[in-house]
Symmetry: C2
């Protein structure tokens, strides 16, 4: 379960953790400590479930490469995403204190993950109060994103929801160097996007067509291009403050232009 797929140079596994977030990147020492808390890495195929709802777990997962989801299967048989995670995100850090999750964690694409035993987190909690607070902060970031997802469903219509989601992905990907502020890869199907925005794939298709016809963005295969970030942000009522990005990244996220 923990055979390293390929040797990784020191820090490459945690380089994206809290990268470009506002209280500043992790210090060198914090990176070392966190890195050494990873007992091993693991590769999973798209579609696999990493953690099942209700199952007791004794390790958390940091996503190194790929896309993962938190999702809940509703009674109607449909799957609903309540979170989506990028490289550098802890997908189930909250399992450390919760022990059992209230949702599933799955791989949306092929992924590489790092395993962080809760025993290692215990040691961090007793020995590194500052890093502990950064980890706590990470789970609070999650909560802030959840609140924004509530707001997205509550206050936006279909096109606004998709615009908001694309803006969020653009901002978060830019923070980890995977978007230049306007263009990025997003290996999601229209069904996936529907599960995020609570829309049918049929309607997602119509919305993407409208965004295309409005000249706001194009999405072909897994490649997204935002042609007018400011107007998209307005359409989706997107304000990146909830992501706690540093200033440069936040500016990029609403203008599409700038440098990191």
């Amino acid at each position: 379960m923990s055979d390293d797929a390929a040797p990784m140079s020191l820090h490459t596994r945690t380089e994206n953790v809290l990268r470009n977030r506002t209280p500043g990147n992790l210090t060198r020492e914090e990176r070392d400590v966190l890195e050494s808390a990873i007992s091993g890495t693991r590769v999973m195929r798209a579609g696999q479930i990493a953690v099942r709802q209700g199952r007791e777990v004794d390790a958390s997962t940091v996503l190194i490469e790929g896309l993962m989801t938190r999702h809940i299967d509703a009674r109607d048989g449909r799957r609903h995403l309540v979170g989506i995670y990028l490289p550098g995100d802890f997908v189930d850090l909250h399992a450390y204190a919760l022990k059992r999750l209230d949702h599933d964690v799955g791989a949306l694409t092929d992924v590489t993950i790092g395993i962080v035993p809760h025993s290692a987190l215990e040691r961090i909690q007793t020995d590194y109060p500052h890093l502990t607070r950064r980890l706590w902060f990470l789970t609070l970031l999650d909560a802030a994103q959840h609140r924004q997802w509530v707001l997205r469903l509550a206050s936006l219509n279909a096109i606004g929801r998709v615009a908001h989601f694309l803006c969020e992905m653009n901002a978060r990907l830019a923070a980890i160097g995977r978007s230049d502020g306007e263009r990025f890869d997003l290996p999601m199907t229209q069904v996936d996007i529907g599960e995020v925005c609570s829309l049918t794939n049929v309607h997602v298709s119509r919305v993407l067509r409208e965004l295309r016809e409005l000249g706001l963005c194009t999405m072909r295969a897994s490649s997204v291009e935002l042609h007018d970030v400011p107007r998209l942000a307005q359409l989706g009522n997107f304000d990146p403050h909830y992501l706690y990005l540093n200033d440069a990244t936040a500016r990029l996220a609403v203008s599409g232009k700038g440098s990191l």
Copy 2:
């Protein structure tokens, strides 16, 4: 700002914190420590804003009496609740690590709150690792509730949302001894409920009528009576596991009957 409204006997201010939650109530010592972290109490009138979005804060708030909300004003002028809080809940504990909130915190009714300076939380974090973890757990409970609110909006129709919300309130109120499992006070207007469930007050009215006609529950003024908790829970796809209640309370929350 911190004149105690009325003298309170020791522990009455924190008696509801984590009460009947699953890793067990706070220990006597933890209660003492937490109680002494409260620098004072404050009374606020219904409708007042306690913390404004984006404002930097250096203290958190524990709700002692009354109802508070986390809400975000959308561009369309409508207010959307992203959380609702009961006595014993920390309404903005996350401000300790976040410093600036991504939402407003307001009083839904007249409330009494306890002020917990972040300096006191710092001391707890360095001196009481176990209590720190319980506090972390509290913020994770918030996140779990947020996820369920996402799911409520994403997967349920109007009547299901209201049913789910009433079940949640019943469960959480039962945990703090404010519901007998079927009957409780809930001083909210239909506009308020609409802001929770993302419905117009007009439609909330229709939904409550339908619930009444189905014999599932009646809500008059601020008093709620659930006539058939199991059917309500089914209608709202309500499963209280996300609240991490202890077993007795969880059973009560889906059956309406039982004792704590």
